[in-house]
Symmetry: C2
Subunit: 320 residues, 2 copies
């Protein structure tokens, strides 16, 4: 454990320095080319929609995942029994957890764009040949970003392996033939949630989800599966990441009304960690303490205390 911790710390420092260096060249880029190269797409910063640029550092977890990829590649290179006489390289970009930015950074992996980065027609002497071909891409994290990337990368037969995009939409092999993942799809997660509801005999439930592929396809899956188990979806809302705080408060008010009318107690929150925090903040402001049983998806359920810190009273009763 000790070794891993110090590795992580070192990794974070190295990654931060490299990202800063990369940034001065016009884009965030953390790369080291080998004989064969793998791309990476990680959400390292927040996106500032108004300024249309990447903003503050998002969370330490994303940097760790990036470092895990580099660590794995370096380990393979040091182990002569895996790829003998062949060096693996990497080229990693920041998606800023934003759909359009994911597509923009994915352009870095496709042939015409790669050519134009290195190829300067006005000054052919400065031309040092093309960047090496990217064989495949690890990431991105969010399902909606993965949809964008895989449509683009698929045009050039570049496979993509996500470590965290769980949306069922991406299970469509015909539409996304180059998409693969190391995590199970959300239909499994929805099934597990329904098992929890059945176990406690919770018949009237609410479902609040983010306005993206991740949240919307989970709600669709829940609508299909829940009635088969005699569970009634008494309240459903889709909320956008960019919604004002007032909208989050409105949802809590509507939820309280639904509770009075049809005794809804269990609330499934299918969204990212930042949005779940805003739900709990709204519940705290509206005084909805110890009032609901919150059921979390992997978008925030895996983040330990992070989504509820400061709003513990409102979040009491959360289950994952």
């Amino acid at each position: 454990m000790k070794y891993h911790d110090s590795f992580n710390l070192l990794g974070v420092i190295l990654a931060t320095i490299s990202l800063i260096i990369g940034h001065t060249e016009g884009y965030l880029n953390y790369s080291n080319h080998g004989d064969l190269n793998i791309g990476g797409l990680f959400p390292l910063h927040f996106y500032n929609e108004r300024g249309r640029e990447c903003g503050q550092l998002r969370e330490i977890g994303s940097l760790r995942r990036l470092e895990a990829m580099v660590f794995a590649i370096e380990n393979i290179n040091q182990n002569s029994s895996v790829l003998n006489n062949i060096t693996l390289g990497y080229e990693i970009y920041d998606t800023c957890s934003y759909l359009a930015e994911s597509l923009k950074q994915s352009l870095n992996f496709i042939p015409p764009y790669r050519k134009s980065i290195t190829c300067n027609c006005d000054n052919p002497i400065a031309d040092h040949g093309e960047l090496p071909r990217i064989l495949g891409v690890v990431g991105p994290q969010r399902s909606s970003s993965s949809v964008q990337s895989t449509i683009l990368l698929g045009l050039y037969d570049i496979p993509q392996v996500s470590y965290l995009s769980t949306s069922d939409e991406l299970s469509n092999d015909e539409r996304y033939p180059y998409f693969l993942r190391t995590v199970p799809p959300d239909s499994f997660q929805v099934k597990a949630m329904i098992d929890i509801l059945k176990m406690y005999n919770w018949k009237y439930v609410a479902f609040i989800n983010s306005d993206d592929t991740y949240g919307k396809s989970a709600q669709q899956e829940f609508r299909l599966t829940a009635p088969l188990e005699d569970i009634c979806l008494a309240f459903a809302r889709t909320i956008s990441e960019s919604a004002e705080d007032a909208r989050f408060k409105d949802i809590i008010t509507e939820l309280e009304q639904a509770q009075r009318e049809s005794h809804v107690t269990s609330v499934i929150l299918f969204m990212q960690v930042e949005m779940a925090r805003r739900i709990f903040a709204a519940a705290t402001e509206e005084g909805a303490m110890r009032q609901f049983i919150w059921i979390g998806s992997d978008g925030w359920g895996n983040y330990d205390m992070q989504p509820v810190q400061g709003y513990e009273e409102a979040a009491l009763g959360k289950a994952f």
Copy 2:
């Protein structure tokens, strides 16, 4: 009318010839550059998913729309009171009515790609400078294609004006700031459908939609609006364009069962013309004649007899 008809015929012939010529250069392209240039994205051919290429000519209507764009541009050029001393040009690509192909053809309008088309580093002498910048893009037709294009084009501040993408998803100005359209969004259409249902006092309805942005966001809108008017969505299905015929037949069987159980008579079909045809084919095969009242969206409702030809008995009672 006579003039228009012969113009259309001439246009279709010219477009077909140009498209064939364009095709031999590796991509379908119909262009004529001016001082300022506008891009175009039209679904001219069907897409062959298995072969991953554009296939047969889709419908004469799309060629007409392309010709209307060229006709408008040429009229502007001939009229000195509109843009004096400036020639408008165009560059039009075929999306083959397919999401990934739309994204691929949209790449033709963005700067790095445009550079690499003309810029050949291996042979700098052959270099004749860059293609002119595209100021804006007309199209594409389908909402799901428009979502792809506008995310990409928006990265380079290229506005896009669709003549037929009606999905409400595209009303999100924050997510798609460069998207504009000349048609009203589907929430208006859903509202009109609900007005029809209210007028005839049809309380239990079915909603069948295509598995894309167009169909899915319309269903979502209907789910939100219908209960406010005491209309019950008794049966809802989402069906993929690439689904087997058996799946279409299953839906008709399920629909007949829903009719027996909850007296559903009105069926809203929110999908493209090719899919509506397959629904009517399945209804004919299942013997569901004069049994339902079909309410059509603009995806097939605007196509006159085309969606029902050969299945008139099953489609009897359609309303738009």
